[in-house]
Each structure stands twice: as structure tokens, then as C-alpha cells.
Amino acid sequence: MSNAYIDKFPAEAKVVKAAFYSSFLALALGGVFGVIQTLHRTDIYRFIDSADYYTVLTAHGVFMVITFTIFFLVGVFTWAVTTSLDRGVEDIRFTWSWVGLMTIGTVMAGVAILAGFVDSIDISASVLFTFYAPLQAHPLFYLGLVLFVVGTWVAGADWFRSWWAWKKENPDARIPLPTFMVLTTMIMWYIATMGVATSILVFLLPWSLGWIETVNPLLTRTLFWFFGHPVVYFWLMPAYLLWYTMLPKFAGGKLFSDPLARVGFVLFLLLSTPVGIHHQYLDPGIAEGFKFIAMTNTMFLLLPSFLTAFTVVASIEHGARQRGGTGYFSWLKSLPWRDPVFAGMALAGLLFAAAGFSGMVNAGMNINYLVHNSLWVVGHFHLTVGTAVALTFMAVSYWFIPQVTGKELWNRSVALIQVVLWFIGMTFMTNSMHRAGLIGMPRRTAEPQYTGFEFETAVGSVGELNAQIALGGVLLTLSLVLFFANIIGTAFGSRSDNLPDNGYAEALSGSDDAPRVLDNLKLWTAIAVVLVIIAYSLPLMSIVDRGGLFGPDITAFPANLESVRFLAFAVEHLGTAALESAGTLAWNTLPEVIR
């Protein structure tokens, strides 16, 4: 009998497994659209219309950065909370309810997007991941997103519930580090999603259903970015959690400092949200002063990442030294590079260091004129979410999947090749995207060239840049194929008793060493809310004052569709029914409560 996660938490392992498999399905779909896109845009191989490119792009974006990342992270978070508190979830039906909500949400949004390929269905949502009004998606898309986000809220409540129950039994104990990380990340997520929830529920969904005539495009855009920057930390935090709590273990060492890991997560909670305006440096209608404040906050948000870089590398080095490593640099050779889990996560971290640089440029206010909406930005986030997050998730899956299925990994060598291929593919793709961005090549367009002018490169050529992007895309696709082969191979394997123990890395400098105030989540939440209010109240008031709550007289694109009317009727009907039944329920229960 082994001591894997599934042995201790069989019911929870099923939830985590379901979350992982859902995320892998999204990864597969996202990957298919990714390769179609990379070959089309570089004009190497095309079989779709350029007009359909944007449907492909929407699908790639939403499946990758919403479904793949978030489904995976809810799996990791469930594992982290149950493992580190050493207790199962409070109510497994409650846990399945949020898995269900997220799944229904994904299916609705996915159907709305994919229906864009079928002309005979008048449903579409080719609005890209950012869904800027006045571009309008079918209401099904917005409803799907709402259900998905509500699912994550319920998931967060589930983890908080576990922690509260645990705290009652352990009143004086420090919050175990993985749980601490989950809770701070979720508080950040609750604050951040207020922006997108307001944008969708108050403006975009009623607008798409035809209940309100117009929206203020700058307002919904600003509310999107209120959520749009912290969402990248929502993807990144689970990767950080894995780097802090798992990578030292895989390297054969211990976490260098538990207190600094907590400091890092507290800083992310405080600073992730009041920075969204740095995505709007080039927006009219927002004063330069607000942009400067957003920049200052963004620059200081680098600090927890710099801190993480040191702490994580020092933890890895600790492993290398324990394995006999010596010297200033030669200790690197003592690391377990043949282990796909370690190698994948370490390579992900290496490319994240490169992403750090392009992120600093993105954070800069006036230099944004150079890179805004260019391929540079695409290069940047393929290093962050596309590698730091995605490669870490894939690599750690080689450890997790055996833990939650109880089956041994199908093939370690294939796994090692897979993570290395991803690293090489991303290196080709992103270095050329950064360079292409510097010469002004835009993101989010179906064509590599325009008719009236040509892009000019100082070094190399446009053809070479496109070739590198396409080559990178092909290598990434190959890497995905190997990944799925391994996951499927493992899933069809048989139960094994020879699995590594479940657990996470110990710390050299433990939580006893961390000031107790770090665990005061109420305090940090309060400060985070105050910072958000300071950063956003004046800009939002100014935007509403200028353009009005519902904006100028604008027309939705594309124009309203037939099926919307049915849905509008259905939603209205259901909404009324729900309100009625809620009212009846309240009416019936109120006397009991009073009694």
C-alpha cells in the first residue's frame, strides 16, 4: 500500500482528477486552435477564412487562459488545502457543486464561441478574451462566464470552510503554507472578480439581451482590466505555490524561507488589483496622473516576484548542495534534470525570468507607445501564462496524475522530451514575437502583412520572424501530443502500490519564524480593499462623469440576433421564477428563524 493522495483522500482525489481532466480537454482544444492560428497568421498553411481567424483566436484564448488554467488550479488548490490541513473537504456534494457550475459555464461559453464557425446557427461570440463593447457576444457567452466565475467563488468558499473547521480544532496553529497561499489567492480573486462581475451583470449581459440600449465602452473596458490584470496572478499564484512548496522537494532540498513566501503572497494580494490601468496607458479619457499611479503600483508588484525568484532558486540550490553540488554555478549540474517534473518546472521558471523583463517594459508608462497591442505583448504572455504557468502545470501533472489516479506515469522519457520540446518551442515563438512587436507588428490580426506598406526589420527579416513563430507553434503542438499520449497512457494503466508519498516541501526557515501578523487575513483583506478603492474610485468616477453610466449612443456589433430574443425571454422567465421561489422560501423560513 502506498501513501499517495488517492489512498488518504479517495473522494477528493476524484474531484481533483475531474478538474485536471477538464483542464486537459480545454488544453487540447486550445492547442488545436493555437496551431491553426499560428500557421494561418504566418501564412504558412491556411484552410480557414481570415474572417474566421477571430473565432479561432477567441476559442484559443478562452479555452487556454480561462478553462485550462482555472480548472487545473482549482484541482491544485483542493489538493493543497486537503493535504496541508490534513483533512478532507467538509461536504463532498458541495465540492462537486462548484465543479458542476464551472463545467456548465464552460460548456455554455464554449458553445457560444464555437457556434461562430457555423453560419446556420445565429449564435457567435467572436469577441476575443477581452470582449470589449461595443463588440457584442451572444448572451450565452456572458452567462457561461458568470456561471464559471460563480463556480470559482463557491470553490473558494469550500476551501475557506475547510480552513475555518480546521482552525476550530487548531486555534493556535499557524496556517500551513499551502493553505495560506490558497486563501490569499482566493481573497485576491474575490476582489478582482468584482470588476468583471459588475461589467457583465450590470452592463454587458442586460445589453446583449436587449434590456438596455447602450453601454459605456470605456467603463466596461476599465472594469474588465480591473479583473484582467489580477486574473494573470490568479493563473500565476498556483504556479508559485508549486514552485514554493513542491519544487524544492523535487530538487532534493527544502524551502529556503516560509516567512518570505508568506510575505510574497500578501504582497500579491495587496498589489495585484490596483494596477489594471496599466493595460490602458493608451486609452483616451483617463488622466495621465491615474496612469502614473497605476505604473508605480505595477512596478512595486515586481517585488514579490523578485523575492520569489531568490527564495525559489535558493531552495533549489539547497537541493543541489545536499546532492553534492559545489561552486558558484556548477551546483546546477547536480540537479535532477532527468526528472521531467523538476526539469519542466525549472525550465518554466527560467523562461519566466525572461518574461520578467518584457513585463517590466509593459509596466512602463510612456514606453507603452512602443509595445502596446503589438506582438511583443503576445510574446510576453506566452512566456508567463503560456510557459511559467502552462509548463509548470504540465510538468507537475506527471507527479499529480499518479497521485490522484493511483497509477504510475506511463513513460518518463516521453515526459522529459515533452517538457524540453515545450521550452524550445516557446523560445522560438516568443523571442520572434518580441522582436516582431518592436518593429510594430500588431497582435490579434489574421494577416502577416498589409497592402500599403511593409514592416522593416533592422536585423533578420519578416519572413524569418514568421518562420520562427510557426516553427515554435509546431513544436508546441508536438509537445502537446506527447503530453496527451502520456496522460492517456497513464489513465489506461493499472493501479500501482509503488507511488511516491503525497506531501510537500519542508522549510529551512519555518513558519515559527514568521510574524503572526502575516496570518491576519482580515487585516490584509482590508488593506487590499482600501488600495483598490484609492486606485480605482477616482478614475471610475471620472469615466462615468465623462461618458455617462450607459455611455454614448452606440450600436452593438454584430447586430442583435434572433436567438437572443428567445434567450432574453427564458432568462427573464427563469429570473422571475427564481425570485418568486426565493421569496416564497424566505416567507416560509422567516417565521422559523424569528421563532
Binding site: A314, R321, F357, G364, L438
Partner: protein, 65 residues
């Protein structure tokens, strides 16, 4: 078949007080230098060399009067 992660072979136990992450300091020092050089290059060569650049409209408005 081997395991996903074999227990790394550990030769020695290094405690908190006897561990100095000098390798990390060296690596991150190198990273610092690269960051500074790249920043200077991208800001002063790529960005400022990419004229024309947007300049203060306020100055122009004054000039118009």
C-alpha cells in the same frame, strides 16, 4: 517502470545555519546585470530611437494662442 519522481539521492543534510545560497546570489546578480542592460537598450535605443514620439500637447496649445 519507474516512478514519476524518484526520491533524489541525498548525500548530505544541510541545515539552516550552515547554508549560504551563494550560487543563487551569483545567478541572480547575473540576472540583475542582464535586466539593467536590456532595460537601457529597450528604453534608450528601441523606444527613443523609434521617433516620432508623442510630445506634450499642452505646449502646442500654448504655442497656438
Amino acid at each position: 517502470m519507474s516512478q514519476a519522481t524518484e526520491e533524489p539521492e541525498q548525500l548530505q543534510e544541510i541545515g539552516h545555519d550552515e547554508y549560504n545560497p551563494i550560487g543563487t546570489l551569483a545567478l541572480i546578480g547575473l540576472y540583475f546585470v542582464i535586466l539593467v542592460l536590456l532595460w537601457l537598450f529597450v528604453y534608450f535605443v528601441e523606444f527613443l530611437g523609434n521617433d516620432p514620439t508623442v510630445i506634450g500637447a499642452v505646449l502646442t496649445m500654448v504655442g497656438l494662442q
